[in-house]
């Protein structure tokens, strides 16, 4: 099975303190970037499928040279190919723009299965659905298990509200957005990344993919970001001042009252 995983490089939320600068943008100078976490689960899932039924895993990202590092990390995990889709014309694309670019890439090669993370940590969970629609492929979101039935079908489960699961069958080729927790991604250390450091990563431009520059980029974006802001701290925190036993009872009571315990 040929599997494509669309990945993205994002500021690592666990290792950064997000601060805004005077111009209203995120202060990016000291940010640490890493692979978008749900994308990492998607790549792990793709690798597990490929090792079970055979095939190749390709990771692709739309971005610039800096974004190569996440491709290398995923290649160190075991992805067979990495592809950078990069062009000046792509700068400032909105979700639909990115989906348009990826669509062109998917159509260039033949993939049986396209995976995305459930959402980018700095994004809006839109690419997967839009990409499926543009490709006219079936789509399932929030997927938390995949079983290959035969060459043409997958059995998937999706997480629905309240922690319940919904089982579906879906025809290939399709697009799935992968939920974290579907698997336990393998560890990638510096050594692994160094070992793939010299593997060439092909770059595709708008022209190579036959993308009309007027459909992507800032000019074509219909959604424009106007501001970032850090919400001010609201009221509502309740601090318990009792003995440990009293506090435990109170916490249990509060959690139960909010429906957290059944």
């Amino acid at each position: 099975m040929e599997i494509l995983v669309c990945v993205r490089r994002v500021p690592d939320t666990s290792e950064n303190e997000i601060e805004l600068n005077s111009s209203g943008d995120i202060e990016r100078n000291e940010l640490v970037y890493s692979i978008n976490e749900p994308d990492n689960y998607a790549v792990e899932e793709a690798l597990q499928i490929a090792s079970k039924v055979g095939g190749n895993v390709t990771v692709a990202t739309v971005g610039g040279e800096d974004d190569e590092e996440v491709l290398r990390r995923e290649m160190a995990m075991g992805a067979h190919h990495g592809v950078l889709i990069s062009d000046e014309a792509f700068r400032g694309s909105d979700g639909r723009g990115i989906a348009t670019i990826l669509k062109a890439f998917v159509q260039k090669a033949n993939y049986d299965l396209v995976l995305t993370g459930v959402q980018a940590e700095d994004g809006g969970a839109q690419i997967g659905g839009m990409l499926a629609a543009l490709l006219d492929y079936p789509f399932a979101s929030l997927v938390n298990s995949i079983e290959v039935l035969d060459g043409h079908q997958l059995k998937i489960s999706r997480e629905i509200e309240g922690g319940n699961k919904e089982l579906s069958e879906i025809d290939l080729p399709c697009v799935l957005s992968i939920q974290t927790g579907i698997n336990e991604p393998r560890y990638v250390g510096m050594r692994g990344i160094r070992q793939v450091a010299s593997v060439p990563i092909p770059t595709f431009s708008a022209a190579q993919l036959g993308i009309d520059g007027s459909n992507v980029g800032e000019a074509a974006a219909n959604v424009k970001r106007v501001d970032y802001f850090v919400p001010s701290l609201g009221q509502g925190a309740e601090i318990l001042h009792g003995s440990r036993e009293e506090n435990i009872d109170k916490v249990l009571e509060l959690v139960a009252a909010k429906g957290g315990l059944k």
Binding site: E15, N16, V32, S34
Partner: protein
């Protein structure tokens, strides 16, 4: 028949004694040689391991640990028993050989043992055989009746190792009986004819037997003589050839195992012997994944283990029900080796060890505290094997999710918490500091001493107090010191011990360069893990000392005077951190410091010094979520309570985390407290004018702002 025929001349319906015994000798020796040769096959296929240096030093260790049985008395009863058996075996070794030769050569006398020397030797061996026999009886009774807990085998291994042990003990007892009977018969026959050729020692086994045998007619004695000899022969060779199939192989291998034992235990095994750090990128596979990835010496360890259970008896992971028991790390590998490298039959292709004999949880459960290695009478190594197995897991990407985050943060930010580098020195700008700000060093500062803080003390709010106490103490004794600030990265101590060698090397190289750039002449740290890393894992950095050594020296030189403790009813106990005590033998300095504080009552826990009980492990171990029934720390604070203490003093920030957590978990809040040695010393130091503290407070703020612009 006046005389007893020599066994060599005895005839039976089959052959003369000489032919029969020659045949047994040849068969026995040939079989043993073959078995040993087959046992050497995996060792030849194993990884290389350089153990051929410093022969005199190694011989010295053989004298101490092998001949001197140095570690045996740590277990009083079993150890004493073993020393007797070992001594008996040594004494009987020569006799065994001469008895064997007597079977084929009637008048053989071992060179040097003719005449009265032989008489004396004969008496000694009579006693030796009797003592060994007695020891066997006691050992069997211990196994059968008293069943010491440490010999028990958990259900999951479904193997009764005790049965094998008892069988072997029984065989040795039989050998001793046969040997004694042989001597007794000879003595009985010779007694009436003038001076005895073979005297027997009073009250020994042969002596008792001879007293019984005097009434037995000569023809029966003749048959007994032959029978005893035959039983002795067969038992001897059976034991010789059976030992390489089980725990008694250590009789043969222990000498070699101790000779080749690791000399510099504190230095971790490199990924590959003979491959430099720079060449590591070319190594295809890291660590131990299959049996053949172990070094030959590690395989020899597996053969040499006597399954005495002392390692596991002292292992904190085993004590709290984690799925790790060092003893089984060894015996499972030995069984694997016997199965895949059989004496008869073909060598089988090995599968990955993980999932067949070891589980990932088992391998991650070790805190590398070193209690097992401290105890092992045969100097079997464990930490290197665990680290090598972890290297294999890391190389395969098989790392628990709980450890992946901190490892990634260490790569990105140089600390496991993912905190910003620039905030690393924030702890140093606090009003609680006695000192007037702490310098962030660069080569222009001319500071002599670097205080290496390490991640936990830099970022953990509770442990920052240890950092400030350390700075106060260094300042008080007039040390010109500074810190690396944002240029410091995690020492990487646990990164390396968790098998992430590449990341460790990156952290080490970064720190080593920053230290060199600072131009300091020495390093002080309050963190034993950082201390151990800087001392043994780093090369070409200035000498490093643990704060407790610095304080002890300052106390001795009178640079530090203490106020008496406020509450004289408090009872203190000192908990030895593994990486200060067992791994670096710093036991006395912290105790001397405590004893220098007037009015301080100190007691020892039953497990202290080199038998200290790990509190739960440091560094990445704080992030790992082990499967366990209880926390190690809880056990430790209970030990402190049993000793009658209500204050636990330690000298390691990780111990502090574990102790304080454990006090809460054990519900001992208010009854037990934990304090770091640095904090205690800072609290007790008699400062000349205590009032100046308040005055200084206003100054501090200025200094801190002045020094807070980091140089990096």
């Amino acid at each position: 028949m006046q005389d007893l025929q020599a066994v060599a001349q005895l005839t039976s319906w089959l052959a003369t004694g000489r032919t029969l015994f020659l045949l047994i000798h040849l068969l026995g020796v040939a079989l043993f040689s073959y078995i040993v040769a087959r046992r050497l096959v995996p060792l030849i296929r194993g990884e290389r391991d350089f153990r051929f240096d410093r022969p005199w030093f190694r011989l010295g260790r053989v004298l101490k640990y092998w001949l001197g049985q140095w570690k045996q008395p740590r277990y009083r009863a079993a150890g004493t028993l073993h020393i007797f058996i070992f001594a008996g075996f040594l004494v009987l070794a020569i006799r065994a050989f001469s008895v064997l030769i007597v079977g084929v050569s009637r008048n053989f006398v071992m060179p040097g043992l003719s005449g009265s020397a032989g008489q004396i030797y004969g008496m000694v061996t009579d006693y030796a055989a009797s003592i060994v026999f007695l020891c066997m009886v006691i050992a069997i009774v211990r196994r059968v009746v008293f069943k010491p807990a440490r010999y028990a085998v958990p259900e999951r291994y479904r193997k009764r190792q005790s049965a094998d042990a008892i069988f072997l003990l029984g065989l040795i007892a039989l050998l001793m009986l046969a040997d004694s009977l042989f001597a007794a018969v000879a003595a009985t026959v010779q007694t009436p004819q003038g001076p005895p050729v073979e005297a027997v020692a009073v009250l020994s086994l042969p002596w008792i037997m001879r007293n019984v045998l005097v009434a037995v007619p000569l023809p029966v004695l003749g048959r007994l003589y032959f029978g005893a000899y035959l039983v002795h022969e067969l038992t001897f060779y059976f034991l010789l050839c059976y030992r390489p199939f089980g725990i008694q192989f250590h009789v043969e291998t222990s000498l070699f195992n101790i000779y080749f034992a690791k000399l510099d235990r504190e230095i971790l095994k490199p990924v590959r012997y003979g491959i430099s750090d720079q060449q590591l990128d070319q190594v295809k596979s890291f660590g131990v994944k299959t049996f053949e990835d172990f070094t030959w010496k590690h395989m020899l360890d597996f053969y040499s283990c006597a399954d005495c259970g002392r390692c596991s008896d002292n292992c904190p992971a085993n004590a709290v029900g984690r799925p790790l028991s060092p003893r089984f790390i060894t015996t499972k590998a030995r069984d694997y080796s016997f199965e895949h490298y059989p004496v008869f039959g073909r060598v089988k292709n090995g599968k990955a060890l993980l999932g067949t004999i070891y589980s990932a949880d088992e391998i991650w459960s070790c805190t590398t505290c070193g209690a097992c290695e401290q105890e092992c009478p045969l100097l079997v190594e464990y930490i290197d094997k665990i680290v090598d197995l972890r290297r294999g897991l890391v190389d395969e990407g098989n790392v628990p999710q709980s450890l992946q985050k901190p490892l990634k943060a260490l790569e990105a930010r140089g600390n496991p918490y993912g905190k910003m580098e620039k905030k690393r020195a924030d702890w140093a700008s606090s009003r609680k500091l006695e000192t007037c700000g702490i310098k962030t060093l660069d080569h222009r500062d001319g500071a002599e001493t670097l205080y290496f803080v390490d991640s936990i003390t830099s970022y953990d709010e509770r442990m920052q107090a240890i950092g400030r106490a350390t700075a106060n103490i260094l300042d008080h004794i007039g040390e010109k010191f500074g810190i690396l600030g944002a240029a410091e990265r995690d020492s990487g101590h646990e990164v390396r011990r968790f098998g992430e060698e590449t990341l460790f090397l990156a952290l080490r190289d970064h720190n080593a360069e920053a230290i060199k750039a600072s131009g300091v002449q020495r390093i002080v740290t309050a963190d034993p893990h950082a201390y151990n890393a800087l001392k043994h894992d780093y090369q070409d950095v200035p000498p490093v000392e643990h704060l407790s050594e610095v304080i002890a020296r300052a106390v001795e030189r009178g640079k530090i005077k203490f106020n008496p403790v406020e509450n004289e009813k408090d009872v203190y106990t000192y908990h030895d951190p593994c990486y200060l005590g067992r791994h670096n033998q710093i036991y006395d300095a912290p105790r001397e410091v405590l004893d220098a504080i007037p009015g301080l009552t100190r007691v020892e826990m039953s497990r202290s010094r080199d038998r200290s009980f790990c509190c739960g492990g440091g560094g990445l171990m704080l992030f790992y979520e082990p499967k366990e029934e209880q926390r190690m720390g809880v056990k430790r604070v209970q030990m402190a309570a049993e000793a009658g203490a209500n204050v636990i003093v330690t000298a390691c920030p990780f111990c502090m985390v574990n102790m304080e957590d454990a006090i809460k978990v054990a519900g001992m809040e208010g009854k037990m407290t934990a304090i770091d040695l640095a904090e205690l010393v800072d609290r007790q130091i008699a400062r000349k004018c205590p009032e100046s503290r308040a005055e200084q407070a206003s100054e501090i703020k200025e200094c801190v702002t002045a020094s807070s612009h980091s140089l990096n």
